[in-house]
Subunit: 464 residues, 4 copies
Amino acid sequence: MKSPIPDYLRRVLEDARPHDSGQPASYIDVLAKADTSRSAVAVATVDGSVYSAGDDDVEFSIQSISKPFVYALAIQDQGLAHVLKRVGVEPSGDAFNRLSLEPGTNRPMNPMINAGAVAAHALVVSTNATVDQRVDRIVQVLSGLAGRQLQVDEAVYAAELKDANRNMGLAYMLKAAGMISCDPQEAVKGYIRQCSINVNVRDLAMMAATLSNGGVQPVSGKRIISQESVRQVLSVMTTCGMYNSSGDWIASVGIPAKSGVSGGIIGALPGQLGLAVFSPRLDEKGNSVRGVIMCKQLSHDMGFHMMDVSQIAGASVRSWTAIIAGGSKQNSGCRQAVTVFELRGAVRFAGAERLTRAVMNELEKSHPNIDTDPSLDEDTHVCAVIFSFRDTYSLNDVARRLIHENIRRLSLTMNVVIIDSAGVLRLPLNQEGDFRKVSVVSTEAEARVQIGGMGCRVVNKDSL
Amino acid sequence: MKSPIPDYLRRVLEDARPHDSGQPASYIDVLAKADTSRSAVAVATVDGSVYSAGDDDVEFSIQSISKPFVYALAIQDQGLAHVLKRVGVEPSGDAFNRLSLEPGTNRPMNPMINAGAVAAHALVVSTNATVDQRVDRIVQVLSGLAGRQLQVDEAVYAAELKDANRNMGLAYMLKAAGMISCDPQEAVKGYIRQCSINVNVRDLAMMAATLSNGGVQPVSGKRIISQESVRQVLSVMTTCGMYNSSGDWIASVGIPAKSGVSGGIIGALPGQLGLAVFSPRLDEKGNSVRGVIMCKQLSHDMGFHMMDVSQIAGASVRSWTAIIAGGSKQNSGCRQAVTVFELRGAVRFAGAERLTRAVMNELEKSHPNIDTDPSLDEDTHVCAVIFSFRDTYSLNDVARRLIHENIRRLSLTMNVVIIDSAGVLRLPLNQEGDFRKVSVVSTEAEARVQIGGMGCRVVNKDSL
Amino acid sequence: MKSPIPDYLRRVLEDARPHDSGQPASYIDVLAKADTSRSAVAVATVDGSVYSAGDDDVEFSIQSISKPFVYALAIQDQGLAHVLKRVGVEPSGDAFNRLSLEPGTNRPMNPMINAGAVAAHALVVSTNATVDQRVDRIVQVLSGLAGRQLQVDEAVYAAELKDANRNMGLAYMLKAAGMISCDPQEAVKGYIRQCSINVNVRDLAMMAATLSNGGVQPVSGKRIISQESVRQVLSVMTTCGMYNSSGDWIASVGIPAKSGVSGGIIGALPGQLGLAVFSPRLDEKGNSVRGVIMCKQLSHDMGFHMMDVSQIAGASVRSWTAIIAGGSKQNSGCRQAVTVFELRGAVRFAGAERLTRAVMNELEKSHPNIDTDPSLDEDTHVCAVIFSFRDTYSLNDVARRLIHENIRRLSLTMNVVIIDSAGVLRLPLNQEGDFRKVSVVSTEAEARVQIGGMGCRVVNKDSL
Amino acid sequence: MKSPIPDYLRRVLEDARPHDSGQPASYIDVLAKADTSRSAVAVATVDGSVYSAGDDDVEFSIQSISKPFVYALAIQDQGLAHVLKRVGVEPSGDAFNRLSLEPGTNRPMNPMINAGAVAAHALVVSTNATVDQRVDRIVQVLSGLAGRQLQVDEAVYAAELKDANRNMGLAYMLKAAGMISCDPQEAVKGYIRQCSINVNVRDLAMMAATLSNGGVQPVSGKRIISQESVRQVLSVMTTCGMYNSSGDWIASVGIPAKSGVSGGIIGALPGQLGLAVFSPRLDEKGNSVRGVIMCKQLSHDMGFHMMDVSQIAGASVRSWTAIIAGGSKQNSGCRQAVTVFELRGAVRFAGAERLTRAVMNELEKSHPNIDTDPSLDEDTHVCAVIFSFRDTYSLNDVARRLIHENIRRLSLTMNVVIIDSAGVLRLPLNQEGDFRKVSVVSTEAEARVQIGGMGCRVVNKDSL
């Protein structure tokens, strides 16, 4: 049996192919002569599968798509605070090659326009590194992101260098403004080499997927970019990635993205996947015509829009009280119960808050669930509380802290048993601390044993 | 037992209180005389709980925070396509009261600056509605969002109207540019009434939570804003919500937001919650000084940053093959097995892709799991495939379609049983269609029965 | 015999007529329907002759050509210092209808763009005048400039008022910025009435000639605009009169000018003449196509370019020593001479400086002109100095002061006789002052008498 | 006796000296360390006298004051049309070091901002000249203008070159925009050498006087700049010379001017003089504080404002009819008369027009001056017309053509005698042409003879 995903990508590609408006970039011959029939699309998941269609092994120069990654590298090498002194984060409302220095700070408006990208490049390794040192580091890191050794296309580099007057102009302006420390000529040469690295859509998809995966390359499992850098890069891609149509892109496509003049576009959907498209004909804003069409199609079909709340899922909380001993209602007085709180899904603040509320509600009652469960009555004795994290997919920090606090407070008056096979809760257990009366077990069977040890006899084991 | 959340909010508030720089807005007396000691914070969850601290019942005029909601209303009433002809979506790089008409289209750059907000206001109800009709509708909808009847503050309205020259100027410019159809005076009057609606932080938090909840008011459960509008509004809040510091806001706070001149700020974290802060002293950009501090604190503490991939969780897939009959390896030839695919969590494309991959892998093997499971061998016969969605929290459209396709393809050659108690899969079952050989059941017990009916005798029922 | 000037103007007009590109202004019907065949040209001299050709009695609304005159009026009514607080003088680099408030001061950039013109209008009479008071004054003054009673074209006014949204917008913005004190609606209404005053090219040429004549209407001889206002108005017309092509206009045409949307253009060549052209088709900058062609032709043919130094003439100084008694060289010892300084032309600093130099040179010699004039020798006695202003066309202040000083110093040691029939020198003569030893006479004959009275017998009367 | 002019300049200088606000330019050490007590002023007339006061022999680098002269040189070497393709003429509204490329044409806005000055520099000699060739030519021409050999200050050059990043940036931008053809590095080096030429105020005053004198150096009498270039340069100085305060400068000072960062300012009053001031402290716009004060004082005191119509003088026409024979009224029938037209002053169109009018008036009457002169009656016979140009200081082209035309027409029916001792009229006399009936003589005596030859007996010779 074949996966339907490649079929889908092929269909997306074929649907875009008839759109043959636009022209390839004409400022250098090597781009102007691009085969405009070439088109490709690739999707890489955060656990490392790559799907692609079309000319997925055709290489092209990465151009501006290098910008977010080199910005990340600058943050890595110099720290965010220092980078922010040299490059801003505000959308400029301008085309990619405008100077756009920020009034007051003299910073280039953001790292996605050329001026900001040159300034970011000049921060890689250190402010007094050589061109070779910077480019070597960049090629190495981009290769790491792509999962294979990438190369500078020397023909593209030579052609771009001959046509580098505008970037030279920007670099000297940046130098004059104190925004780069190195020789402007070196900054431009390095920047152009960075832009001349060859990639294909599969490489780009994997590089984007690394951003989506928080900086850890999905296949190699290596952390290549820090979480802090990834957050910053994705933020800037969101507001500035598509130049002066960034607002429109976020509203209509809803994925942090970056395009390049050779016809590539990447998109990084946080936590989910990276995508890349390629086709040389550009629209008047410098974005690949077919590339934009494919991205819109993918976003629409696959629910990729960041702001599409319907696509976002949270966590759920279920709570109930289980009679664990004592049998029928007639046999009241000796019935024993445990209250179980089960938290399912990917839990962030909202999920933890729901659990907190459930705990509050439960414990405000004098007797458990009397109102809703006819099998319970006033004589039922709640002998323990169980928290089950068996189906908790993940907890973020605030959720964990909030749940810890719930457990701490409860454990002052109740026996508390935690079922946490995957260890998501990370309770700081020790003999002296807040949680010394709390037991953590891995399975329901162990929980039953534990409750038994509390003097409760567990009869109805299915209820847990 | 008390919830720790109010304590936390109180601490956030107290930590912000010593920051007493800035001044309240001075352009009208009624704002200039605001009690600058007033401060409040509120958080509302997408299922309707509201937590707050400080002066949470103090009312203030909503001002610019009305903009995203009225923009949503304009989209509702006129359709997105029409609204986009009158108001753009690009960040302007300008302060809130700049004219900023987009070259070429003449549209105000976006609906978060005054010009765009006036244009959006003028689209509410219809282009030939009266001021009263528009304002009535807006008050009604904002009341619906807040969950209580809101009122226009007539003193604020009167003062703002006296000082409305700049907005009058914008409105006449918009009229000249063909961006509003009604009388400019009426547009401004209506817009000012809209800005003069009184709210408190609890109202605002609930209004924001409605956005986070995809347009459905958490408490009333009523859909007030369409999903399409919400997506558009949150997108525009992301790129333009904080005027010319939107880029910095997204990078540092990471929540779609909007601030108002009376000292309020809202933030809407999609799928999770709405938050609102209030304190009258403004910084030089017109944002509440303490409000910004509180938002940064909340974002940092609670992992609210949209681009913080570490906060984002996906789905997991587990698959295994269970020997359901035949016993020991010696007894080969008559051993029967089922392959089980279990999908857990909130499933979007990435999760469904993972399932697809698991299915592909499994079925490419001539025999199930022979390599990894020593209890299996070549003689084991796989008699059915089971998909378990018992722990699938949610499926989005693309995930559902992809899984349907997997099942369809598998069912051409295999018996397929689906365990889907919650009905998340929504298979279009009928006698003729693609899925006529697929059984859907609610529990594992039913699955066992079903497999039995296929000629498989289930012995090891725990394995399912 | 007929004057060749009308023939010349007719030829200029006919040469321009074939140029039929461009379109009349289309924003209001009454302009859009203009008869595009209409063309006219007129020239008015600073002493009141008017020459014209073509449709010189066709009336059209004055539109923006009213701006310089109303700016002058504002200066008249409020003083330049006050006007400068409300309207700047810098070229904006923008089209006529841009807002262009100056950063820092909030002033509209200059009074030739609409915003500045509205602000200037609102200063006429007084800041709390009524629309009627302002318009009455403007109509009266413009009528005085034109030399006949002008009228507001009510059809144009009505149409412009209906389409006044942009100007209303500007006016409200100006109000918000504190640049106008009156109701913005009133400012716009008055401004539009001002623009709707009907004129023909002969009116306009006379109005421009009044500027060229320093503010005195050439025919009536009445001072209508103060010298200070004229200087300011001509300066602003020079740098800002033709909107964003002012630099090109000054470089290529070289005449302070102003154009209007109904197809008129005026030019004011200081000290010489006013010109006006009219034809409704406008180029993309809003200037009359044929009008621009005619202005360029006139400037080229007639040497009107302000910066064409070849067209500028100064003054000349002649000095010589005349033997007035004593006869031949052999008869030395009793020969007597006078030194004569004759100043011809329009004398400003440069001419007076030349005279000063001649006086210095002359008096540094021990004996007059010995080197150059063989008839003189050491025994010749210079008994007086004569200054002849018979051919001095005019003296400006600095020239007068400088010559006074020369005379004062000379008279300390010499007899000085002034021939000044036209009274250009204005010596402050009295019995006590600096000039008590100076005689002023009207003719050479009187000078001879005067010298005779000094003990010199004048023999060679032709030499004086 | 001493000239009062140096005294005046000294007073102007001393009045400015107490103004010690501002700071010298700080971007390079060699300027920052300037002796701020240094101040000087100089005035040079168009016939070559130079007056100065203060530190008039202190040299400083010419800096931006070189711009107008090098712009003139570019026009000289490439033609105005070509230069206009590379450098615009519109005021930019920007500071001197802004990029300001004109939308559409990509030209730097004007040659007075750095970008335009670099582009102009790169046009000197030829587009493929070397740095040395360009700089040699510029030094040579500036030396010719100053009247002495100037030198590049190598210390300033070295310091400026080290700090040239901004200009390098501009040059690369210009190269990218196709506005310079040479290597950007070479353009900047040459431009900086040009700016590093040392001058004193006397040099500068003479250079400015050359502009005022239409391009002919006043002392050497050599034409250094063509008339066309001078007109263009003075025009651009008028609208753009003082950067973003050009409008204010023209309104308040009224002299085409240029300032430099080392503290110099030149002004060129067409046809009159050049002035130069120097003092190192600069205001926030980069103009010499004392320099501006001195210029304002000079303009005010000396009536230098271009738009001050009161300072501008024209020409006058006098006409009368002289009885040259026949005596008393009783003796009518045989009385003969000539009509005399006398034109005085610097005659341009306006003067020639006045003459034309006088001629028309005269000849429309059946008999001369009957109405106004009681000595004339119907029997007086006008036997000739005399034009006297004895007191005509100058004629420009249009005036000459117009007068020619008057004479040509008159001569069809009348005897015409021209008195033109200085030969200003330049009639194309020959036996066949239009003017074959016209006599040109040098003196009134000759005129009398000539009229006698026409059969008129001249009796009252004083009347001519």
